[in-house]
Amino acid sequence: MATTETGDGGWRRAGVPTTPGGAGSPEVVDPLATLVLPDHELRSSGAMAVPAGRIRREQLRLLVRSKPFVVGAAILLLWIVCAVFGGLFRPYNPTAQNLLAINQAPSAAHPFGTDNLGRDVLSRVILGSRDILIVAPSAALLGTILGTILGLVQGYFRGWIDTLTGRVVDAFLALPVVIVAFLIIVAAGPSVPTLVVVIGLTFGLVISRTVRTAVLQERELDYLAAARLRGESGLHTMFVEMLPNVLGPIIVEFTVRLGYAIFTVATLSFLGFGIQPPTPDWGADIYATYNYVSAGYWWETLFPALAIASLITAINLIGDSVESVIIQ
């Protein structure tokens, strides 16, 4: 029941009802009693169906006006620009070694200093955004798509399909999934596709619970009875009728998972099982240089660490704003 997956960490932000009292959710008897339920149940119990069209545009306007969103989007945009166009304005070749200038402190020539191979840290930080901004969103997107399909199927068909797949999902979520994912990546060998698939599958399980709960709330509404009476096919009902109405919680879930995906990819890279050197990558660069920190060469490690922190903070700011706009 109250199984809490962590470590990626899982549902670190879980457990706090997104709207106090879980407005609009008949299932929640006592908000206090739900506090240890995993976040997917809370998020979706708080999330009401969002009618499409005009209200969407209104939400977008609200979003653009919220300060945290603007700040988060600006930071994210900066990193996207670095990832896409960084090759044009990076001061040095990020993989070019200069053994005559190793471990140099920040200076005018090297604003972030140089690392233990004499590579320019600023250039590596600029281009280190590239792989993580490909892998993490792909994994979060894959997880969202898989989770949406699974949740729609479970919520729409109910019965034995729901019970069977639900039990399997529960069993997997009761495992320390990140550690298991780590084991699988070690065993299969690290590569970008492996990372995306393993993280995507893991997140898909979590997301399917959110989508299922949202679908179950939609199920009894009139428009679905009408669709049934018209004799619409299951596929049409699920993807044309239901999907637009459960999109709100799905978008929220995507932004939250995106933050975790960055966390996970960065951590795996730090452990040497994510993005592989010599490709510039923040996590891998920190691993390569952290032993030099105690020798006083802090810049080699600190700047990539700050880059990760800024990206995760940006995603959190965006995610929180999106969540508060969609759920209101």
Partner: protein, 317 residues
Amino acid sequence: MARYLLKRLGLAVLTLVLLSVIVFLAGQVLPGNPGRAVLGHTASAQAVAAFNHKLGLDRPLVVQYWSWFTGLLQGNLGQSYQYQAPVGQFLGPAIGKSLRLAAVAFVIVVPLSIVGGVVAALNRGNAVDRVISTVGLSLSTLPEFVSGIVLIVIFAIELRVFPPGANPPPGAGFGTTLYHLILPAFPLVFVLFGYIARMARAGTVEALESDYVRTATLKGLPRRTVVTRHVLRNSLLPTITVIATQTGYLIGGLVVTETLFNYPGLGRLIFNAAQNKDFPMLEAGVMIIGIVYLAATLVADVLYTVLNPRLRLQGED
């Protein structure tokens, strides 16, 4: 009640079996030929075959799984590839080290986050609340190695108040050992703080809005009494179980923290095993983390059910 507990226990055992199958498949099937993986591409075919035969890796999978699983039950965790010695003798000391680090983190984070959450709730909506909530959330979403690096740079390199490594000099006493563990504990504290504090805050806010607190206030009780006698008692109930579940996270978060601080615990053992493709060691480590994790969630569930029967009744659908 007894039926629920039995059911929950059965589920935990079933999950454990599932975990063992996944770990076995990942560790012994996915890497392909373990002999080749360990000995490298230059080894001769005979050497690889001999290696596999010696470790029983040329038997059918089901047989291998069964002997591995029954061995596990008897406490035989297998033979390490890299040390050519039983895995168990490395795990014991490593677990002890990890427990020490985890205990330090827990002792710091539990009072800190409960006080933080309650203070935030009592100041609901104003600047104090916003600062605690925002800082807590930001800290909890940072990977441990990121916050760890920043801590090392500030407290070990610049201010020199803490040592940069977690290992005390040989023969150090309890105090010195503890002192070395404070800085490594903080990345774990950060991650847990946001989570537990949010829970404590939500529980306290909920209790503050309840009728019994209003009644107590209207009765003319001083705020202090209302908070300590009426609010906290109810608000900390869910927090206790969250703390139990977090044990599971903690043991996973050790992999990163121990690597960063060169601390020879279970996490670092797993990391080393992963780097050296020492699958028996890796599998045993993951199984132990899994068992701790499952035990922690089981305790959390049971504790919560015992403390709050409403959830149990709701849960039985």
